[in-house]
């Protein structure tokens, strides 16, 4: 189709918004770790952004969006962006290069989210190798399944802006990584309080802001669908924030971190649904996400699992709920698709299958990759380095 300047304008802006989410994750996480690891935590997000950006233009994009190979992965036609031009292709109304870079910022933020489980204990060198392997072996196929014409898309699974690709994949990969990376020294015994809560709140603001690009940009056009995605995104975030706030209030006090964690839970859950549900459903989706992720966080802590910054409980479980909720609340009024509430059991089943498959694939492949990297390069820093903190030991800097 011919290029539409309005659609292009919105996706240019949306891509910039989503780009901001990667450092946003860095600041959100950076405020949650101890002071001796703040810089290292933020630095990871910048390093992820740089490394995955180059990886994506070189071969990531083609693996995800190249011509379908067996429903599993893309072919190499777009290697080094060859054939990805300034004009739209297919039914798109935006330049192919723009679609490519919109997808790029999704890949970077997904890897950034995953840094949760590396917090305060992993070598930056090994992390970089791991990140490239993970993006190649886990992210690219998952993106292909859902958006690149892979089996999941063929089956009819709905995932508007990346519930499975981004959130389930990073969340359950983080869970798998706990098995290989192990706990921080002193976890469960020493206090590990957030070192800089205002910094986390800033990161959360960047995330909420950027998420409008993430979800409303996934319409790939400046139209009513984008507007709907924008509205339900904000509504679910708000409902999630309120739900988590109330739940934590019930147990004690309404912490500011609880409010923003609830918002992120709501944002995660609405991500796959944002092109299919309306605002009233978004309230339910967001509120349930807030309550669910809050209890999953408590569960994780009770179990003594050091998935340090709650990528699994918020992104993983929020993503699962969002994928399922899409199959429940999808309404024809928004985008023609229906869910369980409209009697479409089939869609619901498809959503469950896609979810389970994503979890299994991400979990198992991450385990394999992490095991290999750990066996060859070693993931953990040495004990003294962990004690000293990664700011000094990995980056030679301090706050």
């Amino acid at each position: 189709m011919v290029l539409n300047a309005g659609d292009t304008a919105w996706i240019l802006a949306a891509t910039a918004l989503v780009m901001l989410m990667t450092p946003g994750v860095g600041f959100f996480y950076g405020g949650l770790v101890r002071r001796k690891n703040v810089i290292a935590m933020i630095a990871l997000s910048f390093i992820v952004f740089a490394v995955i950006s180059v990886m994506w233009v070189l071969f990531g994009y083609t693996l995800a969006f190249g011509p379908d190979i067996g429903g599993f992965i893309g072919g190499l036609s777009f290697l080094g962006l060859s054939g990805v031009g300034l004009e739209p292709s297919g039914t798109s109304t935006i330049p192919s290069l723009l679609f490519m870079v919109f997808q790029l910022v999704f890949a970077t933020v997904t890897v950034a989210i995953l840094t949760s489980v590396f917090a305060e204990r992993v070598k930056v060198s090994s992390f970089i190798i791991f990140a490239i392997l993970w993006a190649t072996i886990v992210y690219c196929p998952l993106a292909h399944w859902v958006w690149g014409g892979g089996w999941s898309a063929q089956m009819g699974a709905l995932d508007f802006a990346g519930g499975t690709v981004v959130h389930i994949s990073s969340g359950f990969s983080a869970l798998a990584l706990t098995l290989i990376v192990g706990k921080r020294i002193g976890f469960g015994k020493d206090t590990m309080e957030p070192g800089n809560i205002p910094m986390s709140l800033l990161g959360a603001a960047m995330l909420w802001f950027g998420w409008f690009g993430f979800n409303a940009g996934s319409a790939l056009a400046a139209n009513g669908l984008a507007a709907n995605a924008f509205v339900v995104t904000n509504t679910a975030a708000a409902a999630g924030a309120i739900a988590w706030m109330c739940a934590s209030w019930y147990h004690g006090r309404p912490s500011s971190l609880g409010v923003v964690s609830g918002a992120i839970a709501g944002l995660v859950a609405i991500t796959p649904a944002s092109g299919y549900v309306d605002a009233m459903a978004a309230i339910v989706i967001g509120a349930v996400a807030g309550l669910l992720c809050y209890s999953m966080m408590l569960l994780r802590i009770r179990k003594g699992i050091d998935e340090s910054l709650d990528c699994w409980s918020i992104h993983g479980m929020g993503g699962v709920w969002g994928a399922i909720a899409t199959g429940i609340f999808a309404t024809a009024a928004v985008n023609g698709y229906t869910g369980l509430l409209a009697g479409n059991v089939n869609q619901f089943t498809i959503q469950v299958i896609a979810t389970v498959a994503s979890i299994a694939y991400a979990f198992v492949m991450t385990l394999v990759i992490a095991k290999i990297v750990d066996a060859t390069l070693g993931l953990r820093v040495r004990e003294e380095e962990e004690y000293v903190g990664l700011d000094i030991s990995q980056h030679g800097e301090h706050v």
């Binding site: 101890r34 002071r35 001796k36 002193g186 015994k189 020493d190 206090t191 590990m192 040495r382 003294e384 380095e385 004690y387 000293v388 903190g389 000094i392 030991s393």
Partner: protein, 109 residues
């Protein structure tokens, strides 16, 4: 009266505070400091050459107590703060000649 100045691991602060509390030593002042011990802090291997990393974040607590409380408090801090590794910290005992309260006109020695 003595002032006990203990320089401890930040991660152990809550532990030590709670232990002191249990023995009814409540009053204290704390501040964030940086420090290194005789071992020159931690030594990090770095690309062949050793690199000294010094001035690591520490917590300093100060308690002004009766002379007879000094020994028990040292014992409590040791029990609650010890990991057995370099960096556990040091305790200094300094004489205090007088203590005055701002709120009232009390003074004691």
């Amino acid at each position: 009266m003595k002032m006990i100045q203990a320089i401890i691991r930040p991660e152990r602060f809550e532990n030590i505070k709670k232990a002191l509390e249990e023995h009814n030593y409540i009053a204290m002042t704390m501040m964030e400091v940086k420090g290194r011990g005789e071992q020159k802090g931690v030594q990090l291997q770095y690309r062949g050459k050793k690199m000294e990393v010094d001035m690591l974040p520490k917590v300093k607590i100060e308690l002004v107590v009766k002379d007879t409380d000094v020994d028990p408090i040292i014992a409590i801090i040791r029990t609650a703060g010890r990991t057995g590794k370099i960096g556990d910290g040091k305790i200094f005992i300094i004489p205090v000649e007088r203590v005055a309260r701002v709120r009232t006109d009390e003074v004691w020695t």
